[in-house]
Amino acid sequence: MTYQPQTDFGTPASRSEDQVTLTIDGRETTVPAGTSVMRAASEQGTAIPKLCATDSLASFGSCRLCLVEIEGRRGTPASCTTPVEPGMVVHTQTPHLAKLRKGVMELYISDHPLDCLTCAANGDCELQDQAGNVGLRDVRYAADATHLGQTKDHSNPYFDFDPSKCIACSRCVRACDEVQGTLALTVQGRGFDSKISAGLSSDNFLGSECVSCGACVQACPTATLVEKSVVEIGTPERAVVTTCAYCGVGCTFRAEMRGEQLVRMVPWKDGKANRGHSCVKGRFAWGYAQHQDRILKPMIRAAASDPWREVEWEEAFTYAASELKRISAKFGKQALGGITSSRCTNEETFLVQKLIRAGFGNNNVDTCARVCHSPTGYGLKTTFGTSAGTQDFDSVEDSDVILVIGANPTDGHPVFASRMKRRLRAGAKLIVIDPRRTDLVRSPHIEAQHHLALRPGTNVAVLTAMAHTIVTEGLVDEAFVRERCDWNEFKDWADFVSLERNSPETLEPVTQVPAADLRAAARLYATGGNGAIYYGLGVTEHSQGSSTVMAIANLAMATGNIGHRGVGVNPLRGQNNVQGACDMGSFPHELPGYRHISDAATRREFEAEWGVALDPEPGLRIPNMLDAATDGVFKALYVQGEDILQSDPNTQHVAAGLAAMECVIVHDLFLNETANYAHIFLPGSTFLEKNGTFTNAERRIQMVRKVMSPLNGLEDWEVTQELARALGLDWNYTHPSEIMDEVARLTPSFSGVSFDKLDEEGSLQWPVNEAAPNGSPIMHIDGFVRGKGKFVVTDYVPTDEKTGPRFPLLLTTGRILSHYNVGAQTRRTDNVVWHEEDLLEIHPTDAENRGIKSGDWVKLASRAGETTLRATVTERVAPGVVYTTFHHPMTQANVVTTDYSDWATNCPEYKVTAVQISSSNGPTNWQEGYDQHARNARRIETAEAAE
């Protein structure tokens, strides 16, 4: 599309169902009750001049530019703060109004630098526009007292703050308050001394509590807050709507471009997942796409110890195919497998699993969801019948009680966290179940009613004790259960949870949660109105991850919190396309649409479409592949978009598995850690360079649109197709839309999905079929997908990972706002200014006992291995618990995590590792050895100079 700013209606839309008719400038218009006069005028095409108003914020009424005349009323009210009334007659342009507005604008411009021609916002500045709109031609006031010439704040890596250009409209402050919910900004001083300030006057933006979400920059009507990229490149000339490639919220953005150069990413106001908001990653951290570390040529080598040799695509595909065929012939087809990625599109993922099933001839395909949300798939399919969350994000607006367990949304899912915090500030109650005191527990204007700081590994005990409270205190929604669930299974479950051994009091020594607090939290969830549960990897990445998911589902069913807005069970997916990768048949036991490979009827559909016989037996999961590799029977792996060496547990075991293979094909943007063991490297394309779809945590399928040519020459789906063709498969897709058409033909829940339909609707939440042609925002409305909801007894089983004298502390791992997963993308952006290295959080008591201070190097040791990193002493973690992130390869937090995993899915138990901490004076031998190995493995042979 040609560049146009997004339409700004001035004030938010009203949700009223009542309609009001009024007349504006002689034209009758009908709008929902509660709409402002400004918005009503804007919707009928009349743009009333404005500065302090924008439709992402509540009306403010300070700039005095949007004045109107209303027949029968005295004065000239501000249209932004005046709601419509039946029969109202409004005039937006009269000589009197024109004079008033010109006077207001004259005052603004008298204190504004007149450097429009060299200003970064020239042509994209509301102040400039409004000066023109009101016909301002000269300024009569002397520039004696102004704010001109003030010092600019360049501290933030992504945007500048120039107070000289500020008109004190407070849009930035209100955006930080209302949209982001951080409340980092304020108006310091009064009257002429008013000044926007990030925190204390001594703070700059970087040093303040600002989280760089960009809401203030987006809200600013001038160039006071402006992206550095706009300053450097200039204003954009076109915009393409696409979907963010970071977390599972799935924010949609306008990629604003000049030619093929990305100028900025601006959150799309019509995006149904993010509703016009963004976080520091999606908004700003896209520089990795052009980073010098990107590999743009295919490379091969005979052994991982050799230097890489750059080759043309054709040679790479031919070599890869010959190696795969050689290994298949020598070791059997079961010696081959592949891993799809939650960072890749649905279409790419579908092709990879198709390549493995139809080309490799087995079901040895798995996805990184194995190590994050595979228990969600198992648990929700068992209890509800569908491997997905039940709600859309909008649902949180109707929640009365929000229970967050094992999730840190302000860091991991920041845009949804802002929406959640907005609801909490409006009065919803909050329960947080987490070993750490996450930011959500207490932040500006938000305080959890209950923070159950449980001992890591006791989720099932806590949830069962909550169920005990709900059942034994008569808080079950019996009518819901009788109508919607299997009553006999409910009775078995109720009898079990009612046992005294499941009471909060009995379990308190295990969970370390005070029984009275746990009971109060259970009562609140059961009786506080609409109760919604949001959870993350702190639920799934345990030896009882699947049991915990089912325990959550039990609670929701027992209290009737399923099937309408405001309630539900909501997994917060870590990566952008976790849901989609699972939907597309990435698991070794399931074809697309979660249909088991052993089902002959389902298999026949795929066999007919693909023209091959499919193996009816489930394939290997990632950890099983690695076990088979070290056993010498699994020899070749195609990994698209994943870095299992850094992200998977027990790094040394992963390394041993990879080293035992004869052909490791890594298809990625960078020479990641896994590539240190690879023989073939196929360069990948970024989300900016390809077409396709992602499916977010609310089952929302959204378009990913190519805004620039792939630097490597091929989109990722084309790379997989060429590899398949080299193996002899007759694939002839010409566009990803054809792949989605095939998905729709083969997958009942996607039967109504097509690129055309997505273009038309903007997004679709599956199931999309005859019964729900426009998708399904809320699931299980009239009944569960499986029929009757299934209660499952979830008996607490302590993990085999025990603390003891050698390893007395429990390590739990997580994420930080500024980085994403293994950090391959965000470490190659300016986000490193907020997080240069992984740090170990340790409680003051544990630190003192070991003589450790913040900033000290410490050794983190477990039964699996040891690494070193620096410590930060904090009460965010409880005594006995330590915490770190896994964003940096030299820390390799997964050197210490173990092989223990979820009983049902093999999802690793990242969240519980027994460790010891001690002082250290630098990297371990393993870290130094790995560093040397990585340097060696990344050598690229330089071409000999031509004669």
């Binding site: 079961q334 079901n363 040895n364 078995d492 079990f496 030896s543 009882q544 699947s546 049991s547 070794p588 036991h589 088991h596 052993s598 037996e617 489930p618 394939g619 290997l620 999961r621 950890p623 099983n624 076990d627 088979a628 070290t630 056993d631 029977v633 007894v793 008996d795 089983v797 085999d800 092989d899 995993s901 009983w903 049902a904 899915t905 093999n906």
Partner: protein, 68 residues
């Protein structure tokens, strides 16, 4: 035992423990392994003499082996 066999025995015991409240725990465990374990994993556990397996896990594996 090999590392892989150790893992499989541990996994089998975990499954048995977590499915013990099912109406037919042995049947449920056998079905779980049928649905989620690849043929090689099944062959390894079928060939194992049962050392380290819990009684329910051993019964389930015997049942699955008999039906295979």
């Amino acid at each position: 035992m090999s590392s892989t066999l150790d893992n499989l025995v541990r996994m089998a015991n975990q499954i048995a423990t977590n499915l013990k409240h099912e109406a037919d725990p042995v049947g449920a465990m056998a079905e779980h392994i049928r649905l989620f374990w690849d043929p090689r994993m099944k062959q390894i556990i079928f060939a194992h003499d049962g050392t380290g397996l819990s009684p329910d896990a051993a019964k389930a594996i015997d049942a699955l082996k008999a039906s295979a």
